[in-house]
Amino acid sequence: MIETYNYMCEQINLLLDKQEEDAKNLRNSEFKALQVQINPHFLYNTLDMISWMSKSGKNENVTAAVWILSKFYKLTLSRKETIGTIEQELEHISLYVQIQNMRFSNKIYFIIDVPDSLMEYEIPKLTFQPIVENSILHGILEKDSKEGNIVITAWIEDNTIIFFISDDGIGIEPGIVEKILTGELKRKQGNSNIGINNTHQRLQLLYGQEFGLSYTSTLGSGTEVELRIPARKSI
C-alpha cells in the first residue's frame, strides 16, 4: 500500500516536472518566435532596399514597399494573440514573398492553393515564414538562375490540417535534411534553420508529438515540407 502510494507520488511529481518543463519550453519557443516575428535582419535589409529605391528616385516602388512592410508587421505585431487564422497567415506569407521579390527581381513564383473552407481555421502566427524563407534563401537563390516556384497546398484529413509546402530549389543534402528539425545545424546554414526548428518545437509543444513539420528533399530538384496541425476553427 505504502509502496503504491509512494510510486503514485513519484509519478505525480514526474508529471508536474514534465508539465513545468513543457511550459518553460513553450515560453522559450514563443519568445524565439517573437524574435523571428521582429526579424531584425529582414527589417534592416528591407529598409536598406527602400533607401536604395528612394536614392534612385523610384518613388512608386518606395510607396509600395513601405505599404507592404507596414501591413506585414501590422499582421503580427498589432495583436497580442500568438494564434491567428490560416487566412491571416497566408496573407502574411504573401506579403513576405512580395518583399523578397522586390529584392530579388521578381523571380520567386508563389502559388497558394488552399481551399476557402480552411481560411477560418486557426494556426500559430509565423508558422510559414521560416519555411518559406528557407525555400527562398537556401533553395531558389542557390540556383544558377535564382528563379523558382513555391507552392502551398492544404487539405483536412481526420481532423488534422495538412499543409504541403514545396519548392524547386537546389534541394538539401541527405545528411543535412535529418538535422533541420533537431536544431543541430550550425549558424552557417542560416538563421531560418533556427526558425524552422523552433516552429517545429512550438507546434509539438502546443499540439503534441503527432503534429509539426517533416522534411523530404531531393538534391537538385527541390524540397517538400509537410506541416500538420489540428483542425480547430477560430472563435
Binding site: 535589409n45 536598406d48 532596399m49 533607401s51 536604395w52 529605391m53 536614392k55 534612385s56 522586390m102 529584392r103 530579388f104 527581381s105 534563401l137 537556401h138 537563390l141 542557390e142 544558377d144 535564382k146
Partner: protein
C-alpha cells in the same frame, strides 16, 4: 550567366570595378550614386553572387572589387579569400 550579369559601361578602360551583390537595387543604387569618372573608373562589372563574382574576377581582372558579404552560393568573404590565393 556572365552575359546577363556583366554590364560594361563607359569608354576608355582606365580602372575597372566589379560590384558583387545579390540585390539588384543595391547594385543599381551604388552605380547611380557614385561619379565613377571622377574616380578614374571607366568600367563597371556586376555579379549577383560570389560564384559569378569569382568567375568574373578571374576573367576580367578588375582593379577594385566591391562585394556584399552574405550572398547565396558563395559569400563575399569566401570569394575574396579564393580570389586572393589565385
Amino acid at each position: 550567366m556572365e552575359d546577363i550579369d556583366a554590364e560594361i559601361s563607359g569608354g576608355e578602360a582606365e580602372m575597372k570595378i566589379l560590384i558583387v551583390d545579390d540585390e539588384e537595387l543595391t547594385k543599381e543604387g551604388i552605380i547611380s550614386s557614385i561619379h565613377w569618372d571622377e574616380l578614374n573608373i571607366h568600367e563597371i562589372l556586376r555579379a549577383d553572387d560570389g560564384t559569378t563574382g569569382l568567375h568574373m574576377a578571374r576573367k576580367h581582372r578588375p582593379d577594385i572589387i566591391l562585394s556584399d558579404v552574405r550572398m547565396p552560393r558563395m559569400d563575399g568573404l569566401v570569394m575574396i579569400k579564393t580570389k586572393s590565393v589565385l
